[in-house]
């Protein structure tokens, strides 16, 4: 990070509306914030998301920085609080997540009903579920690869896939249990 006091001076100038100083400040702090978050979070993507949230928060609450005080504790407390928010949200999501690490085996029952029924069932899925189903069951991608391609988290992809399997199974084998 820049010399102590340099960031404080840039922030003080940014509070006056100096765009150049503000750009210099954000460009100086963003790699530092990213590194701080990357050490504490599980993935680059999570650190990236939270890092952007930190920059947004810095922008929104920039008036709460007092130029006479050191800048770093102000910045790190924002980064820490955004990270805690993220971890809480992740924990909440995990508690709702349905484990599909072992994907339900549907091919045996589906073979009996024929491929047409399967095609109709897949075609009737909402686009995001259909995409998840095709990537995992047709293309044989891993959940991580499929999540990356869909641009969503692994948890979200698993939920989509599970809903798709359930819907397909229900459509093809109407008296099946979920």
């Amino acid at each position: 990070m820049s010399a102590p006091g340099e960031l404080a001076a840039l922030m003080a100038a940014a509070q006056q509306g100096d765009e150049q100083a503000y750009r210099a400040l954000l460009e100086a702090v963003q790699p530092v914030v990213f590194r701080y978050l990357r050490r504490r979070l599980s993935s680059d993507a999570a650190a990236e998301d939270v890092g952007q949230d930190v920059l947004l928060t810095v922008h929104r609450v920039r008036h709460t920085y007092e130029p006479s005080r050191p800048f770093e504790p102000w910045l790190y407390s924002i980064a820490k609080s955004r990270m805690i928010d993220h971890l809480r949200k992740e924990k909440r999501l995990k508690s709702w997540q349905i484990s599909v690490d072992v994907l339900p085996e549907v091919s045996g029952e589906l073979a009996v009903r024929g491929m047409d029924a399967l095609k109709d069932a897949v075609a009737a899925l909402p686009p995001t579920q259909r995409e998840a189903f095709k990537m995992l069951k047709v293309e044989g991608l891993s959940t991580e690869e499929a999540a990356e391609r869909a641009g969503v988290s692994v948890s979200a992809l698993k939920v989509r896939a599970h809903r798709a399997y359930t819907a397909v199974k229900r459509a093809v084998v109407p008296d099946s249990e979920d």
Partner: protein, 226 residues
């Protein structure tokens, strides 16, 4: 290549930085001394208005020579002030207060209720639930009525700041306001029976803090997302 693009995800961050810079407007930096003065000024004003509106209890004034009574009102006043300070500090990034101090402050009304119940410094006999409610309802109403104004005023001030832990900040502004209410009512109420104190003076502080904390947190979170 700009500095931002040398890092993973740098392009997205670079784009974000462009947008933030484009959105930059001059802002007035906070002055914490002024904020403290405003908040303590509001509390002092509310206490004066409460004394003026409800009058001062003769017996309570006579008790000012009693060290236990002085300790009680001292704890109420100093806790209200400390909670105000903690609420303000928790709404400014980089300040905050050590967790043990926060925990002790949040427990003050519980400790007061437990303390007067256990020691019963001025005696007291169980009057039954209905008489207790009848004798206490005016004090509960006064405490809540006094607390509303400083709570709303503090909420307004803190919305302008940056509370990062909304529930904790909300609890402290609620607790500060209700402790102030309990402090003011302590002077206007002549009943010092420990059941009355615990039920009609400190229980409303506990319940009011929880309610004010929940409402404040919702308001502050909404302010953050706007």
């Amino acid at each position: 290549m700009s500095k931002t693009q040398e890092h993973p995800g740098g392009a997205a961050r670079g784009d974000l930085i462009d947008r933030l810079v484009a959105d930059l407007k001059p802002v007035e930096a906070i002055k914490t001394a002024r904020l403290y003065a405003i908040c303590f000024g509001i509390q002092a004003l509310v206490a004066v208005i409460a004394f003026w509106s409800f009058g001062l209890g003769v017996e309570s004034l006579a008790r000012l020579g009693d060290p236990v009574y002085l300790l009680l009102i001292g704890v109420l006043a100093s806790s209200a002030a400390a909670c105000t300070l903690v609420a303000l500090r928790s709404a400014i990034p980089g300040r905050g207060v050590a967790r043990p101090i926060s925990v002790v402050l949040l427990l003050v009304p519980v400790l007061l209720a437990a303390g007067v119940s256990a020691t019963s410094p001025w005696g007291g006999a169980w009057p039954g639930m209905l008489p207790l409610l009848a004798s206490g309802k005016m004090c509960m109403a006064k405490i809540s009525g006094i607390a509303v104004f400083p709570w709303l005023a503090m909420l307004f001030v803190l919305r302008w700041l940056a509370p990062l832990r909304e529930l904790a900040t909300g609890m402290f502004i609620g607790l500060a306001a209700f402790l102030l209410g309990a402090f003011a009512v302590q002077f206007t109420c002549n009943v010092n029976d420990h059941y009355h104190l615990a039920f009609a003076h400190y229980a409303p502080v506990i319940l009011g803090t929880i309610a004010a904390g929940a409402i404040s947190a919702a308001v502050l979170r909404r302010g953050r997302s706007n």
